[in-house]
């Protein structure tokens, strides 16, 4: 089963992301991380097919997580959807430049997130998925 890693320090947002994706992707398993280091640990320990990543987190900025993931052969193909809030649009260019696969601003609709995930899943760029 495909594993989706949801990274956000807000448990509410994590639940919303999961609920949004569960609508359009029925057979997936969710993993959660509340900080950047935890996200990287999850990546190291299990096969992750998609990361939904918040940019502002207490320990590591989402861009650092993004750069770290993209810096090694073993992980660089994992698709990453970056989430951020209004007023932070400047980071869009930075995120896309650092290799984000997609970029959504909160509030996003469940459909928009689901569509992005489906698009990335069908893109064939998923050699690591179990």
């Amino acid at each position: 089963m495909k594993q989706i890693l949801v990274v956000d320090d807000s448990p509410t947002i994590r639940r919303m992301v999961r609920a949004s994706l569960a609508r359009s992707l029925p057979a997936v398993q969710f993993l959660e991380a509340g900080s950047g280091l935890e996200a990287i640990e999850r990546l190291a320990v299990g096969a992750i097919s998609l990361i939904v990543l918040d940019l502002n987190m207490p320990d590591m900025h989402g861009l650092e997580v993004l750069n770290f993931v993209r810096s090694h052969q073993k992980y660089r193909h994992v698709p990453i959807i970056v989430l951020t809030t209004r007023g932070d649009e400047g980071s869009r260019t930075a995120a896309l430049g650092a290799g984000a696969s997609a970029y959504l601003t909160k509030p996003f609709t469940p459909e928009a997130l689901g569509n992005e995930a489906r698009r990335l899943f069908s893109g064939g760029d998923l050699s690591a998925s179990a």
């Binding site: 320090d9 509410t12 900080s35 990287i40 640990e41 990546l43 052969q73 007023g87 469940p110």
Partner: protein, 646 residues
């Protein structure tokens, strides 16, 4: 976004928002103290920044635009502060405090579907803070200044190698981080990538873990070595000190109603066990001892476990009283400024834990007492100096717990309550005034519904929440309110509350053919009296008790039940010191754990009856409100008691 989708997350939004607001309130107090210093504590700024950012994100998701905007503006100011683009100023802190209060109102209004407060002027004030100040100082110090307050030296380097096995045991990077935080400051935390993509985490720590700990950690994938002297000491990672309040995995958030359900189920179990005890009693005579003993032991075991279970669930519901207290300094700050007083807030016992429900219910009463203290209790600086006091008044907020009772005190060192003025006003309002006005009588007067202070109602008091409501709220929660006041020295209100509302130990007593329960926490002593020791006075009866005259109330007379008198009288001593009364019953039957069903419907509410309980055999027993009964006696028989002691 689809409404039904959002609705599923609203309660979580409110709950998480409240957690962030609690962090914000605490951090703002620290920030307020830092005005005038060249740089505020980076950890505090960061904590505030993060909390506003989180609220903004969730508010955006649930489409609560007002909260999102407010949080956004405050986040922007804090970002500018953090990055050194603006200096911390009094208008800045005031903007944050006002903005936070508006944010609280906005979330509260959203929750109750009330109209949203007008945020336009607050938003533009906050916006101007960044714009004005940034222009003024941009030339001077742009960009963050490296921060190294403690100049801590990295003495240990710990590398953690995660694995599925460790994760399965619950040892993850977050656990490792908190273990290291316990032995010192974490100066750096970063992921490293090795051969074949193996990921490890490196931590530089200022403290030293002891040998045994280090050896134990090895089994958890943590290898610690003394840091190389040449290892450069990085500036402390500011965010490492900021408390991550919502780290994943260690906490679950539970809707209070689910805990209520759980408590109700335990209540049903308690009743069921009581039924078992009653059913077992006649069995003993008919079975041999070797059959009886295991039954008896099992029954006792169930009782113990049930008690533990009940306490366990109760503990889950407990939150620190600090949640109430933390809001008060803002209120005090505003009121003191508006009324030209100088007030210092002293808080003790914030860590006392009481039921979450009680915290919510007590917020308004405590707020009212605090407002009263500032509006009526504390004098202006000039008046205080003239009275030989320090110009700065003190407001005391204290909490403590003993046994099953939690106590909250709100006091000041102001002018005290002017008994003569209270009596005069009560008389004018048609409230009956007793002959002798002591503290308890004074409390009675200011809490009577007819007693209004509207005459001098101002921003500080008023608001439709009078002392009558304060006392009613406390009583509805099964608590009691006391007053101490002394002219020129101050006023103190003391609120005693039961730690839990649902299940409590009670003493059962019989009057005639009726059984009653009295919460054990309100009974000071159980005494036996000879009928001949009772002195009859004009307006009541008293009995000697510890060198004083104890006013008596016979429950049979009070409730109009035919008594089945015994040769000796049995009485519960209720209340403290001079306020003590003896409640006379026919027989004291025993002690029992009871499930309280409170009588909240005003149609069936009777002064002196707190609620009812089910003994398990179908009998419903009324629970007496000891405090109300004691008050009633004092009103009627207080003079008699004093006459007898005189």
């Amino acid at each position: 976004m689809a409404e039904e989708f959002l609705d599923r997350f609203l309660s979580e939004y409110y709950a998480e928002g409240e957690e962030h607001l609690a962090v914000i309130r605490r951090a703002l107090l620290t920030l307020d103290d830092a005005v005038g210093q060249p740089r505020p504590d980076a950890a505090v700024t960061e904590e505030l920044f993060r909390s506003f950012h989180s609220i903004k994100g969730i508010a955006a998701m649930v489409e609560h635009r007002e909260a999102e905007l407010l949080a956004h503006e405050m986040e922007s100011y804090l970002r500018a502060l953090r990055d050194g683009q603006v200096r911390l100023s009094t208008p800045g802190v005031e903007g944050l405090i006002a903005g936070t209060q508006l944010l609280e109102q906005s979330v509260a209004a959203h929750r109750t579907s009330a109209p949203q407060p007008d945020i336009a002027s607050a938003v533009s004030t906050l916006h101007a803070l960044v714009a004005d100040d940034a222009g003024a100082t941009a030339a001077g110090d742009a960009g963050p200044v490296p921060e190294n307050p403690a100049a801590a030296v990295a003495s240990w380097r710990c590398v953690f190698t995660p694995s599925p096995e460790l994760l399965g045991r619950g040892v993850n990077v977050d656990v490792v981080r908190s273990r290291l935080r316990d032995c010192g400051q974490i100066l750096r935390a970063r992921p490293l990538i090795g051969e074949g993509g193996a990921i490890t985490f490196e931590f530089l720590v200022s403290g030293e873990p002891d040998v045994a700990t280090r050896e134990a950690w090895l089994a958890d994938g943590m290898a610690c070595t003394a840091a190389d002297a040449a290892e450069p000491s990085p500036a402390p990672a500011v965010t490492e000190r900021a408390t991550a309040i919502l780290s994943a995995g260690h906490y679950v958030r539970v809707d209070l109603t689910k805990l209520d359900d759980l408590m109700r189920m335990i209540g049903d179990l308690v009743i069921l066990r009581a039924r078992l005890v009653d059913a077992l009693a006649p069995v003993e005579a008919h079975v041999p001892a070797h059959v009886w003993r295991p039954l008896q032991e099992t029954n006792a075991g169930i009782e113990r476990q049930l008690r533990d279970l009940r306490e366990g669930v109760m503990r889950v519901r407990l939150v620190p009283v600090g949640e109430i207290f933390r809001r008060m300094p803002f209120v005090v700050r505003d009121l003191a400024r508006d009324s030209g007083r100088r007030v210092r807030v002293e808080m003790t016992g914030q860590e006392t834990h009481i039921d979450k429900f009680l915290v919510e219910q007590m917020m308004d009463p405590v707020l009212h007492l605090v407002r009263n203290s500032i509006a009526h209790g504390l004098e202006t600086a000039d008046e205080r100096i003239a009275a030989g006091k320090r110009p700065e008044g003190t407001l005391l907020l204290a909490a403590s717990a003993a046994g099953e009772i939690a106590t909250i005190e709100i006091g000041d060192d102001g002018r005290g309550i002017d008994a003569e003025r209270v009596v005069a006003r009560a008389g004018a309002a048609g409230v009956p005034v007793p002959a002798v006005v002591d503290d308890a009588a004074l409390l009675e007067l200011i809490c009577s519904p007819g007693f209004s202070t509207r005459e001098e109602s101002d921003r500080a008091s008023g608001r439709g929440f009078g002392m009558a409501v304060v006392r009613r709220t406390v009583q509805e929660l099964g608590g009691s309110l006391r007053l101490w006041t002394e002219a020129g020295r101050g006023t103190r209100f003391t609120i005693d509350l039961p730690l839990t509302l649902a299940i409590t130990d009670a003493l059962l007593a019989r009057v005639g053919h009726q059984m009653f329960a009295v919460p054990q926490a309100s009974v000071r002593e159980v005494i036996e009296l000879e009928e001949s020791a009772v002195q009859r006075l004009e307006d009541g009866e008293v009995a000697p008790y510890r060198g004083l005259a104890l006013p008596l109330v016979r429950l049979s007379q009070r409730l109009g039940i035919a008594s089945v008198p015994e040769r000796r009288l049995h009485a519960f001593v209720l209340g403290q010191g001079a306020a003590a009364v003896g409640l006379v019953v026919d027989r004291i039957v025993g002690q029992r754990e009871i499930v309280v069903r409170s009588a909240v419907d005003p149609l069936i509410r009777v002064e002196g009856i707190a609620g009812a309980t089910d003994l398990g055999d179908g009998r419903v027993v009324l629970i007496l409100d000891a405090a109300a009964i004691a008050r009633g006696v004092r009103r009627q028989g207080g003079a008699a008691a004093r006459a007898a002691t005189a």
